[in-house]
């Protein structure tokens, strides 16, 4: 675990050593702020709970986009620049490397999520919302972020081209988003599998409404674990190619 934390610290700092990480985080926060003002608050009177619900609705979108963009470089850049050899020749396991990368990506997403707290806090100025709904929403956002970061880590482990990695990660996330639509046209048992896999529709929505759904937490944790396992497999495979 120490090696994972070492890798995570370096990669987390790496986001802020170049303008790139700052630019992505600033852009996502800007979009979040604009959407909160234009979409969640809007021009008409709304219940505070609806404002919060809509905040968590678009925040899910920006979190998923940020996850894919921020993670696409994690392995791809190291492969293209040859720095993966530092890890390859160190006495660390492939699982430790993958966990380190995941923790770095998830750390940035968590920071990004934390920086949006001022928006729900603004609701208190003219309205009243339950702290429980806010907490549940943020738990959902972090769980969703964890799963999509894991998808990003996996797609980044596939290729040395970070744009290809971003595209693959984006496509996979979209497929999980649209799983509920695919479930409508699929036959059993795939219909049940696709319905269960619906990232947003089935598993995230309850959190945005203030419900902490254990089944969905297990789903997000399983998805995170599964894609990290796939990433470890990919990474191990490179020594045999």
């Amino acid at each position: 675990m120490n090696a994972s934390l070492t890798i995570a610290k370096r990669d987390f700092a790496g986001y802020f050593n170049t303008p790139w990480g700052h630019a992505v985080i600033a852009a996502i926060l800007l979009v979040d702020g604009l959407l909160f003002n234009a979409y969640a608050l809007g021009n008409s009177a709304k219940y505070s709970t609806d404002v919060l619900n809509e905040f968590f609705y678009f925040s899910a979108g920006t979190t998923m986009i940020a996850s894919v963009i921020l993670t696409m470089r994690l392995f791809a850049e190291e492969k293209s620049e040859g720095t993966l050899l530092v890890l390859d020749t160190s006495p660390v396991t492939d699982a430790q490397i993958v966990w380190g990368k995941f923790l770095a990506g998830f750390g940035v997403i968590a920071l990004l999520t934390l920086l949006t707290v001022y928006m729900p806090a603004l609701i208190f100025v003219n309205g009243k919302v339950s702290l429980g709904q806010i907490a549940a929403g943020y738990i959902g956002l972090l769980a969703l972020g964890g799963a999509t970061v894991a998808i990003g880590v996996w797609s980044s482990s596939l290729t040395p081209n970070q744009y290809v990695a971003g595209a693959v990660g984006g496509i996979v996330v979209v497929l999980f988003l649209l799983a509920w639509m695919l479930a409508r046209i699929a036959d059993p048992p795939f219909e049940a599998v696709l319905s269960y896999s619906a990232l947003y529709d089935r598993h995230y929505q309850p959190f945005s409404k203030g419900e902490i759904n254990t089944e969905s937490l297990i789903f997000f944790a399983s998805m995170t674990g599964l894609f990290l396992l796939f990433s470890t497999r990919n990474l191990a495979g490179r020594r045999w190619k």
Binding site: N2, A3, T6, I7, R10, G14, N17, T18, E81, G82, T83, L84, L85, V86, L87, D88, T89, S90, P91, V92, T93, R239, W240, K241
Partner: protein, 310 residues
């Protein structure tokens, strides 16, 4: 120290390394010599634990690559042809990161960093960002990261590629210094480099070892003798009287004369340089210089890689 048996490595259907067998003792500098595509880099990557062998075994300091890859990697420092440096980090931060990855404590890292920085002559750039360093300094930082954790084996892939003549001389000194503490394996396709730096040369061709020995041994194997060039003060007659019936000398000729100074090309029957020098000296000839014959070394290399591979 290093034991390799039946090592083969395929990339898909392409056979890059084919059944290598060799062993290397501690504190030797061993060079892998071969043309591009001979299998040098693949061999070094397998020894460094970056690639797994398709067949065969690799043991370093008793650790088997197949059974204990993590333990094996802890004994190794590796510098690939392009140093694996994070361009966005300061040199000091990068080296501390590498040390932490290799399980060194903060105190040990602090103590070792100064020694390694001095050894690789990077003390002046420790606080500079890697992206601002010249190629020569990047190579040195690359060596620093490879030796920071005091590995028993340091592997350097084409360590002088891209360096200017002054940097090459400095790099040779650094490599020679490394052998005091560990075994050094390096690869090159530059003959002079390998012959000047290494105690032993393994010549690779098409994934196989086609020759193994010192420069003189390899030369003797191909040509029946090692070539040297001597500059002596004396007469052709006295040289002739000394070398004509000398068992150490296969043939000799006068390549140039400058007054009473003669430049001799001498082919030895083996590595008998000391004996020849002593004979000439005993005959009253003044030895002014002795050097290896690089043109003959070129021939040896080409003969080994062309002929023995067929």
């Amino acid at each position: 120290m290093i034991e390799v048996q039946g090592l083969s490595r395929y990339y898909g259907r392409h056979r890059a390394v084919d059944g290598l067998d060799f062993s290397i003792d501690s504190n030797q500098v061993v060079g892998f010599l071969g043309l591009n595509g001979a299998g040098k880099t693949t061999t070094l990557k397998v020894l460094a634990g970056v690639l797994m062998p398709t067949a065969g075994t690799v043991k370093i300091d008793g650790h088997d690559l197949n059974d204990a890859p993590i333990a094996l990697r802890s004994q190794i420092g590796f510098l690939p042809e392009t140093p694996p440096l994070h361009a966005d980090m300061r040199v000091r931060d990068f080296l501390e990161y590498v040390a932490e990855l290799r399980g060194m404590s903060a105190e040990a890292t602090k103590a070792r960093l100064g020694i390694v920085a001095e050894q690789t002559e990077i003390t002046d750039v420790l606080d500079r960002v890697v992206s601002t360093l010249s190629h020569g300094y990047r190579k040195r930082v690359g060596i620093a990261q490879a030796i920071l954790h005091q590995p028993k084996l340091v592997i350097l892939d084409e360590p002088i590629s891209g360096l200017d003549p002054a940097q090459i001389v400095e790099m040779r000194q650094i490599i020679s210094g490394l052998a005091q503490d560990c075994t050094v394996l390096l690869s090159s396709h530059i003959l002079a480099e390998v012959s000047q730096t290494c105690d032993r040369i393994l010549v690779l061709s098409e994934g196989r070892i086609v020759a193994d020995g010192t420069e003189a041994e390899l030369s003797a194997r191909v040509q029946g003798g090692a070539g040297i060039r001597l500059t002596v003060r004396g007469t052709t007659e006295s040289v002739s009287a000394t070398l004509d019936d000398n068992e150490s000398v296969e043939k000799w000729n006068v390549e140039a004369t400058n007054g009473d100074v003669l430049t001799l090309g001498v082919t030895l029957t083996g590595d008998h340089r000391e004996a020849v020098v002593k004979a000439l000296s005993d005959a009253g000839l003044g030895i002014r210089s002795l050097s290896g014959d690089d043109s003959e070394l070129e021939t040896v290399f080409l003969d080994l890689t062309r002929v023995e591979a067929t």
